[in-house]
């Protein structure tokens, strides 16, 4: 009885935060579901129900569909690259030799910078102007200059590369923390069984990295789906629509064009896409967990 009462008091303690959460998150989310079914616009004084009209328009608009595919492509690729690189870095840098801490912090350093700073910096490194650093290096070795941010076929991958560079170190730190917790006796046992380094990685290290892998994959997947600031700093969605993502489209349509209902519909699609994608990944990860435990 006493416990129940105490629980009730605790519930009351979280009430302010809960109300804030309701007002600032749940309510707006529910509202955008509602508005996606209307003709709402800042410049429109009468609110009417239009049913699924906005969703129909959305999937008819090639630009928006391209933005959705770009986002999914970006999110999947960044998840793969960022984590593969981070795991490799973590395994190689998880040693106690002199200077290793310095190397580790060097790899981690970009994560400290603001995304906008990194974006503007790389805009200068990757520019096609005569002083573009990257092209100067390529030309020094006798290659042809590449139009990193101006070629619609390459631009998205150029942006992606900067983000992998920036965040791989971040994931690496989480992997290293996890690696430290792996019992060294397992490696000794593997040694006795005569396992080589590759076998040891796949049979001992990777399965036991499960907690860090699942956390990192989900984080980079959701982060990738939400990508906005780096695109804003580096390409503004261009050239043409080659690097538009769901977020940039949402801001363009919702705020610049005043098509608020349309942007709400896109937000709903986004919500569903993130939900489904993360569900798939979680199911996949759970199956993996069951297999190793």
């Amino acid at each position: 009885m006493y416990n129940k009462q105490r629980e009730r008091v605790f519930m009351l303690m979280i009430l302010p935060a809960f109300i804030g959460f309701m007002i600032l998150f749940i309510a707006p989310t529910a509202m955008s579901f509602f508005y996606s079914l209307t003709n709402w616009s800042v410049y429109n004084s009468t609110l009417e129900f239009v049913g699924l009209e906005n969703f129909k328009l959305l999937f008819q608009d090639k630009k928006t569909v391209a933005a959705i595919t770009n986002t999914i492509k970006y999110a999947l690729l960044i998840t793969i690259f960022q984590n593969v690189i981070a795991i490799l870095l973590a395994v190689f840098l998880n040693k106690k030799t002199a200077g290793m801490n310095f190397v580790k912090s060097l790899v981690f350093l970009p994560a400290v910078l603001s995304i906008l700073v990194v974006g503007f910096l790389f805009q200068y490194i990757m520019t096609s102007a005569d002083y573009g650093l990257l092209n100067n290096i390529i030309q020094f070795f006798g290659g042809e200059p590449v139009n990193w941010l101006g070629n619609p076929k390459i631009a998205l991958y150029s942006v992606l590369a900067t983000q992998v560079w920036q965040w791989a170190g971040w994931s690496m730190v989480i992997y290293i923390a996890n690696l430290k917790s792996i019992d060294s006796s397992l490696y000794e046992a593997a040694d006795i069984d005569g396992a080589g380094p590759i076998r040891k990685f796949f049979s001992v290290t990777l399965p036991l990295l499960y907690p860090a892998v699942s956390f990192n994959i989900l984080m980079s997947l959701i982060g990738g789906m939400k990508v906005f600031d780096v695109i804003f700093a580096m390409t503004k969605g261009g050239p043409g629509y080659a690097t538009e993502t769901i977020m940039t489209t949402m801001i363009r349509e919702g705020f610049n064009s005043g098509r608020n209902a349309y942007a709400s519909a896109l937000a709903v699609v986004f919500f569903i896409a993130v939900f489904i994608l993360s569900r798939i990944v979680i199911t996949f990860l759970n199956r993996w967990e069951r297999k190793i435990s």
């Binding site: 303690m13 009430l15 800042v42 328009l57 630009k63 520019t127 139009n147 043409g240 363009r252 098509r259």
Partner: protein, 423 residues
């Protein structure tokens, strides 16, 4: 039990604080301060430095009004303004541009038609800010954009300022044959190609009497860019076909293009007076000139531009009388001179001439003929999103994925979509 009561009290207190935070600031700003000075909020997307002399002048003229200038960069301006207006807390005086008609239609702006000072402006200055013959804002000085050129490079190569579009292409090719980049462009932004091509549309299409009603019909969805503008834009696209604009320029930002032009790596660059200060900072020795975009036949040429922005009054402002006073003073020659001082441009006050200086000598003919026009800010209802779509598609034209006709169709589509949205 006592403990529980205390906890409950704390919870309620916290809750009350949250609520207080929500509703705290709705009042207060409307009350006059003790010495009778009224605070007016003016929100603009041109930085305070471009309005400094003007604001000082207002201060002297209106001792009992304290104008608080609030700068919000254009990237965010509509976003911030719209949410404030929707919450009923907008600024008293608003600097407006292309979205004026939409704001006016949604009843956010005060009708200025009957005010005396409104009639002091020329019609071309008021037209962009009128809906159904009612005026909702009065124009500040004009903005214009032409082609900057490096006089030294032109002189060294014995090149004259081009009078026709063919000459423009010819001198560009002559320069590139000599190993000089004729024109640089920060095509990573969708704006410059859009503007330059409309420069040719001004020459070939809008200069024609018969095209006078096009913009209105376009607003109504009865006329299409892909039909009417196509010949002019096709003509412009020769700069892409002839290799004067290249794909590399899609990787250049505005600042990077400015830098290349200022340091003499390119002979021409399209922009407006706002860039002059930065160019001079980078290269104080540069000999700068600007010529208007030439048409197929010899003439004065056209600049892209129009009323830069205008001042409107929030219809729900609590200090409408004071705000009207500000606009009244703005409609005097002194105030206009103060405005032009920090931001070069011509004035729309009837009978007022402004000397712009040496750089713009080559454009004088165009100014005298009144050849300054930008349809998307002047008449189009949803101008900005339409030209954005058009400009972005032109980037794809430069990248070789789309044709000029498809780019114009994209702009038509956006117009159609927005018309449906705003019905």
């Amino acid at each position: 039990m006592k403990k529980k009561a205390v906890t409950l009290l704390i919870c309620m207190l916290m809750f009350a604080t949250i609520l207080a935070g929500c509703s705290g600031e709705t009042k207060g700003s409307s009350e006059k301060s003790e010495d009778g000075v009224v605070k007016l909020r003016m929100m603009g997307y041109n930085p305070e430095s471009t309005r400094a002399t003007y604001l000082k002048y207002l201060d002297e003229q209106l001792p009992n009004v304290d104008i608080e200038f609030e700068f919000v960069a254009l990237d965010n301006f509509n976003n911030v303004l719209n949410s404030q207006l929707q919450a009923g807390e907008g600024p008293d005086i608003i600097e407006v541009g292309g979205e004026t008609k939409l704001l006016a239609k949604a009843n956010y702006l005060l009708d200025l038609t009957s005010k005396e000072f409104t009639s002091k402006y020329t019609d071309s200055g008021l037209k962009p800010y009128s809906v159904d013959d009612k005026v909702y804002a009065t124009p500040l000085q004009s903005w214009f954009e032409g082609i900057f050129y490096n006089k030294a490079i032109f002189k060294e190569n014995n090149i004259e300022v081009p009078k026709t579009w063919d000459e423009f292409i010819a001198i560009s090719k002559e320069l590139s044959d000599k190993g000089i980049k004729p024109q640089i462009m920060g095509a990573q932004s969708w704006e410059p190609m859009m503007k330059q091509s409309i420069g040719l549309v001004n020459n070939e299409f809008y200069a024609d009497e018969e095209s006078k009603n096009f913009d209105e019909a376009f607003n109504e969805g009865e006329a299409k860019l892909a039909e009417e503008w196509l010949p002019a834009v096709k003509e412009w696209s020769r700069v892409i076909e002839e290799g004067i604009l290249t794909e590399e320029m899609l990787g250049l930002s505005y600042d990077q293009a400015l830098d290349q032009f200022a340091t003499g790596k390119a002979a021409m660059w399209e922009s407006g007076p706002w860039a002059v200060e930065t160019i001079m900072e980078k290269n104080p020795d540069i000999e700068l000139g600007m010529f208007p975009i030439p048409g197929k036949e010899e003439g004065d040429g056209w600049l892209i531009g129009g009323p830069g922005s205008a001042l409107a009054i929030n219809a729900k402002s609590e200090h409408i009388d004071e705000a009207v006073k500000v606009l009244e003073i703005t409609a005097t020659e002194e105030a206009q001179e103060a405005l032009v001082k920090d931001n070069a441009g011509s004035s729309f006050l009837e009978g007022m001439a402004v000397d712009l200086g040496e750089i713009y000598e080559d454009s004088e003919g165009a100014f005298k003929a009144g050849n300054v026009y930008a349809p998307w800010t002047a008449v189009w209802t949803s101008g900005n999103p339409i030209v954005e779509a058009y400009g972005k598609s032109l980037q794809e034209v430069l990248a070789g994925v789309k044709t000029v006709e498809e780019a114009l169709k994209d702009a038509d589509d956006v117009n159609e979509n927005l018309r449906n949205t705003l019905k």
